[in-house]
Subunit: 209 residues, 4 copies
């Protein structure tokens, strides 16, 4: 085993630092408030070097989004994992609730959702690559949701809905509510929205309602 690389002095901060700092700044001051120079200052890196990593600022934005999604993606996959041994995640509904809990913003100005808002705002001008990567992220959420719904249906936990259509509808609902929360529409906090979503599931997914 090679000796651990002794990068004692001013060890170059790992990329994660950069992305985390970028997201923090965006959440705080919006994407316009994020400057390469400023970010460089925050992470102790020259603006030149920042551009050496991310070839462009748009790339940085996208990478930040992907990085943030990856963290959620890991959690998501974990909670959706089949309840093999008795322990772990339980019913489809329980896992669906967890999925929703992960989907929705933590509250007003949630960094992850602020990022999405910015991305959407810019997505008109985005090139194909950017649009594709953006779609890939959304696709992952979608497919996992479809699978979960299909499982619930096949188990008889859920009504026999069209999993794909229903997933699209549920995600639209969640997106809409998420915006309301993130933007800070009065009277629309996370708890209210979680309750609304649960009620929606009860009415439309639970059999024999």
């Amino acid at each position: 085993m090679p000796p651990a690389p002794r990068r004692t002095h001013h060890a170059a901060p790992p990329r994660d630092d950069v992305l985390a700092a970028a997201m923090a700044t965006i959440a705080e001051r919006g994407l316009d408030g994020l400057t390469m120079a400023g970010l460089g200052r925050d992470v102790g890196m020259s603006s030149g070097h920042l551009l050496y990593y991310f070839r462009t600022k748009d790339e940085l934005l996208l990478r930040t989004l992907e990085w943030s999604e990856n963290r959620l993606g890991a959690e998501r996959r974990a909670l959706l994992a089949e309840p093999r041994s008795g322990s772990g995640a339980g019913s489809a509904r329980e896992r669906l609730d967890a999925y929703i809990g992960l989907y929705l913003p933590a509250g007003h100005r949630d960094p992850h959702w602020t990022l999405w808002l910015e991305v959407w705002g810019r997505s008109q001008n985005a090139d194909d690559d950017a649009r594709a990567r953006q779609a890939a992220i959304e696709g992952a959420w979608h497919r996992d949701l479809v699978a979960l719904l299909a499982e619930g249906v096949s188990r008889g936990e859920f009504r026999p809905v069209d999993a794909d259509r229903y997933a699209a509808r549920l995600r639209a609902l969640l997106d809409g509510f998420s915006i309301h929360v993130t933007v800070g529409i009065p009277g629309t906090g996370r708890e209210q929205v979680v309750a609304q979503a649960a009620e929606f599931l009860d009415e439309t997914l639970t059999p024999g309602s």
Copy 2:
């Protein structure tokens, strides 16, 4: 109150021109693509004069949004008007469908919705006035929807739902779908979304389903 259009020699373009042009540009190239100088060129007005009307670019954005909303607002009020004599709008459900038709974007890159996306993206940094005016617009849509739902419920056309809660939920759904359409998520066009919304109403609002 705008000055009465006095068709003078050099025919000052009325304000509407400006707002229409602003919205067109924003829809095309995003808010960042809208420059005071460029807009001035489009409407035959100096950039200086543009800033003389709208004290600031943010104000222009907001005014454009309000102007766009006013036009929709008029249509909305018309179609919600009580069906007095046999003619005109019919059942609550018919009017609700019309409301939804008005709410949803015409398609990918719908100007009005592009504007909203921009406004949301910026709303984190907005001042109180901006936020209030933004909320006022949303409030109008909300109240009209609540009234319509309440009427349908009281008439027995709809199930006895909590009008306010249901309105919030429906609007979240519509907002989410609208974004999907506007941003251009593949396989999410206006027709699909209209159908989804209709299906949602059938399942949750129509009695005895």
Copy 3:
């Protein structure tokens, strides 16, 4: 005798208002802080009308200076008036002290001196007319001082100095001190400067010192 012009409604404010307001603003926020529109607002007059009076902003500046000087000029002439009948101003020295009291700024940010500072700063670019009017003002102060000195000398109150040379020197001293006071050099208030000037007179003008 014609009837007094009944300009009852919104009687146009007299020019003095304008000049006074201009000086107040300049003193407060500097010449850069004075805008035609802002001044118009202060005096209830459109910026267009302001330019109808003063053909240009530079002209306004000059007129403001002259107006301010006129007021001082009147006071100056009064206090320098020969002590004909026993009453009135007394010895040349007393009148000289009064002259100096009038010359020096009231304190930090004295409006009149702030104006002079601005005028000097701009005088490099000034046209001939402006320079001439500026010189006229300074000339009036100078001549009155020369006359006063000559009188004092001829009366034997003062040493036999060269009145013109001495006046130039005294005015340089006063100008220098005035700047120090106006600009706000610490430890240089009006009293200190008055004392310094008096001491200077004692040492250089009083006979047999």
Copy 4:
């Protein structure tokens, strides 16, 4: 600390160029005539880079003043240096004359004094830092003058004046005369003013006059 001049291919002009050019322009066209773009053109540097050095235009003004002062300051310190071996600077009076020669403007529109006039004009609105740096410059001149006067007094070359008070008075006189020369009051050239200052010293500082 400026980067060591590394005489590269496109030979980045050293900072001094910039400051010299700035002063030249200010002297010619006043501070309003100095634009970052224009200055950039003069020194072969983009306006962007100019703002990269000097964070703001005000900072550039101040730096230019300090740079100009530094050059005079060096000369001043040299000529005030104690007359060690018989050679070099001579009597206190000789050095005082040299000090005055350095203090006074070269003539009408002297760049250094034009700068001071601008600084004074703006000093009303200056922030604390600017004011402090401005005061520092004036303080250096003052202290050196006080020291020189004290030395002359202690040696018996000068009358026993209060060095600090006398210095303030002399500087006021010099400031006043300098303005007259810089602004271009007719009949007030450098020679006249030098003569006036000398006469003032003869009368008030030379013992037994």
